[in-house]
Symmetry: C2
Subunit: 685 residues, 2 copies
Amino acid sequence: EDPLTLKAVNTIRVLAADMVQEANSGHPGAPMGCAPIAFELYTQFMSYSPSDPQWPGRDRFILSNGHACALQYIMLHLTGHSLSMDDLKSFRKVDSMTPGHPENFVTPGIEVSTGPLGQGLANAVGLAIAEKHMAATYNKEGFDLVDNYTYVLCGDGCLQEGVTSEASSLAGHLGLGKLILLYDDNQITIDGETDLSFTEDVLKRYEAYGWHTSSVADGTNLKDLNKKIEAARKVTNKPSIIKVTTVIGFGSVNQGKEKVHGAPLGADDVRQVKEKFGFDPDQSFVVPDDVRDVFTSCAEAGEQARKEWHAMLAKYKEAHPDLGAEFERRIAGKLPEGWADGLPVYKVGDAAKASRFTSGLALNALAAKLPEMVGGSADLTPSNLTALKETGDFQKDTPEGRYLRFGVREHGMAAITNGIFCYGGYRPFCATFLNFISYASGAVRLSALSRMGVLYIMTHDSIGLGEDGPTHQPIETLALCRATPNMHTWRPADGNEVSGAYYSAMESYNTPSVLALSRQNLPVLEGSSMEKVKKGGYVLKEYGEGDDLDIIIASTGSEVCICVDTAKLLAEAGKKVRIVSMPCLEIYDEQPEAYKLECFPEGVPVMSVEALGIEGWHKYAHAPFGLIRFGSSGKGPDVYKKFGITPDNLKVQAEKVIAFYPKGQAPSLVKRPQLDFVRYNEHGH
Amino acid sequence: EDPLTLKAVNTIRVLAADMVQEANSGHPGAPMGCAPIAFELYTQFMSYSPSDPQWPGRDRFILSNGHACALQYIMLHLTGHSLSMDDLKSFRKVDSMTPGHPENFVTPGIEVSTGPLGQGLANAVGLAIAEKHMAATYNKEGFDLVDNYTYVLCGDGCLQEGVTSEASSLAGHLGLGKLILLYDDNQITIDGETDLSFTEDVLKRYEAYGWHTSSVADGTNLKDLNKKIEAARKVTNKPSIIKVTTVIGFGSVNQGKEKVHGAPLGADDVRQVKEKFGFDPDQSFVVPDDVRDVFTSCAEAGEQARKEWHAMLAKYKEAHPDLGAEFERRIAGKLPEGWADGLPVYKVGDAAKASRFTSGLALNALAAKLPEMVGGSADLTPSNLTALKETGDFQKDTPEGRYLRFGVREHGMAAITNGIFCYGGYRPFCATFLNFISYASGAVRLSALSRMGVLYIMTHDSIGLGEDGPTHQPIETLALCRATPNMHTWRPADGNEVSGAYYSAMESYNTPSVLALSRQNLPVLEGSSMEKVKKGGYVLKEYGEGDDLDIIIASTGSEVCICVDTAKLLAEAGKKVRIVSMPCLEIYDEQPEAYKLECFPEGVPVMSVEALGIEGWHKYAHAPFGLIRFGSSGKGPDVYKKFGITPDNLKVQAEKVIAFYPKGQAPSLVKRPQLDFVRYNEHGH
Ligand SMILES: [Ca+2]
Ligand SMILES: [Ca+2]
């Protein structure tokens, strides 16, 4: 190799050793082994703009093996992104710009948060789908406005995870020709050599998925790397995987061993590495000037490309003013005027409809105005009712379609949806039965952590689904969603609340929303409205004579109408009952205490009713009612009856609650000591 | 085909059509298409005993596409298992023996609960591991005590799920020669044809995993089916997949279409099917006598095999009395005398150790006495500290080993662990970081639903893991585990509580236990003991003068010692503070109210402290403290400080709680109305 090139590659290795040593924690092995791959991508192939890391025309780079992030931080620093040498020195320290795994909301130039293995590669499939669809939507003769590659680096860990199997099979099916996966085959895992557990033929598997495959036998051979990446770029009808055999911890005395995977090399070995590579062992965090020039000139080329792209965009807007404006609006993440105008509103007496049905209406009303809404179902379209009337399928040969056939791949679906979101200009949705969001939990949590306003349309949301039985009936699922920070869990009670939930979900650009929807029909409720749900919970209606409430029944979704019937029975028996509908507990949690006391006045006991588990309801309810076991197979109404979620039984339970407390003396659960919780600061920390 | 054979196969098809029609709900398509496969397995290959469905020598059959369970129920009925014709007529009705998906705890002859796609196949990998290991452990010259095949039937849905990719890759690595997968390739999914989303080359993928592959082009060709199954049985060093091309809903006017997948055929079509197959269209639920004889004679052969097996076992016990007794004990699911004697006990002043470390000691103490403990980690052995000193790895050529190298495959790991448990005679464990239990949620929930006493050893259980940051730090995870019915979530505070948690976990044969364990060191606490944790929560110790408590601090795991230091600070400031350690909230929930009032006397405010999310704590705490956002990357102590989980800050928070309530007047959260919750009855319903 050219000596300066070699020096540049070794600079990356030495910086990685320094960073992990300084942090006294982290993973030096993969950065040192993969330095040539990163060098080749950042200097020979990728287009990026350090001054505007969000430039829409950039190539995307995803480090799926996020533990190797020292490598990514080093590349961002060397190429002139806003990561200083001091930032590299603060690696893995609290509130630094260089956390222990890449966090998109902390570090400019990081596309997605990675570290949980497999997610990055599956996200990359989403990024490549997003690129292909956006190109099909906006590119015009002479205007290749959208035209970027998605590069992913991953290790064997990512390839063992099922989420990448799901996403990779779909990527092959969809023929995502601009997706290029570099597989760091270092033959080492945490437990030891990969042959302890991973002896499959990876490339043959990817061939079976329909990918183009190649390999680089010596991962330090830059020419071979270059050749194989170039060849992969030319294969435009298939995604590509390049297996690159590397030596983990290249340069260390322990290179090739598990030892260099997840711990600092130690001061002596770091000195040894520096001496071996011709660096001064007494100096740390050094970038030779000639090496810095190499990267600076690459970055300058990127800045030039960005300028040319903006010039193209300006001309595009002249030639195609409507499309140009729409493109800019989408990239800015802004909703257009009147976007919500089509959301349906219902009145009492309209035909009862399942909330999955009114969800389908709301989704289509929005999709008609919002081309950024793309998505699909994990092979449950006729059940989830997520088909888009506006559009056909996104398939290999119909990339302009907005409807995705994810197949029975819930985890891959959610991770791909995250990837589509983080491309920019999208508000994607995905769908399955609520119970099977648990298959996707690994990715769903990252929607929340990484601040992606995706929509999870989750139908068949309780024992009300009936015959499919307890393997399909969620119990603990809403407790999980509600306990996940930065995630809104909606369980609307009728069509108006469904429309309100969609409204809120679309307004929450940085918060994912889970919509839990019924299989069974629900009447339009007296007192519901799109407006009222904005506070997460509200007084729906009161039943009975007089001013003094005997009990408040708080409920969500398909049980609210049952609680209304319960209230009517109680009213006939002389009780005064208030129904509080609480479609989104997390938004309700954020309301001021005074508002909560309006809903739940002091002294009045609260019973909650939800046809799922009761965990989490003790916050507001003196007596939560629901299931404390798994459900049961049978017709929906029979299962409700079995578990006592009927007006007759709920009346009996409510009477127990009323009898338990001397009238007006139930303790307030709303008035609680206010502790000092730590929230995010303006730097994303 | 022989006419009687054809009639027998068609009887299965007609019964399936009848069942779904009668239920007015269900999936007729797969049973009708797969009837020849089931016929061939149950009459030509499988050994089973209808009079003792749990006979250890039986071949295992797993219906991974559980929605096709009408087929399995029909086979159980025809072969003389205790499922009557009336049971078939009650398909999908509440409290019937024939629920909408197979439930192992309801229906004799069902090995595992399936329906959530992919689980059954991954379970089957566990069953095959269990067989191979048990055979290696107990079989002796002349005594093939353990010698059965595991057959799985699955559809394309199962093969799209990542969990099967993970499990199948491992199965190939392990060379599980007695695992035979029949893939019902009917080219139909719920959304339509499989080519909407699933165009990979499945057999090539399985070849890449190291499986033996074959195919049956016409799934009605019994001779070809027989030949391919026979060939698969003879391949003893690799698992086998046989792709069987079938016609979904074979016999229906809509055969081959999505329409027959998940809805009744309709009365007219059912008549048409019966006429086509030579049955009386006016009769339903009919088994011709000659057909019944076919199955009865097969079942008799199974009964004979069972008798011979028991005779062999009797001789085995004479020849190998110790092994024989141990084998019988394991199969009976009994723990031996003195099994817990080796569990370590710690005293105040012993060196502080991470609970993952004391977990490793407890695990090894138990494993030394309990050969039924097998398990491993998802490639985090050095972090989870789950290595077994007693034994080497279970690998292809060392099947006697008890330690499993699962690879980075959390979902597959959990599903395989479930499979090992349901083989009988095992108490398996598996391990990863607590946060990544979410990758495995789909299988973890089934451990609980299907009543499998598996151990989830989950380390790095909070922000205390430090530098790896928020992608690795669980927040919502314990809320999920606690909200899952029939699952015990342990978060022990020191070594004694760890030993107590293991004790409880082993005693809970039908309840899985999650052990959440710290990365960081924890001191041995004054007041802790193995005995006390049996109630799930207990008064650890009080600090300060006088009798009147100012506050109770309830906490778990690594925060208990911090709360003790907080209590000491408060005591110095003149407060009287009680610390309640609550290592298992679910077990605590089950204690009588009187006991709870001993821990949490009326009038005293409770603050809870846990370095995770606060959801779920409102049940017992007036003021739950913890995180309301995701965590942060940094050194563990720095992250604790950032989030205020330090004695100094907790003292400030506790003072707010004390100040909020007039002394002695905090409302009791323990005394609540008791509602009538539905529990399981003796029939498993
Ligand atoms: Ca939430
Ligand atoms: Ca639980």
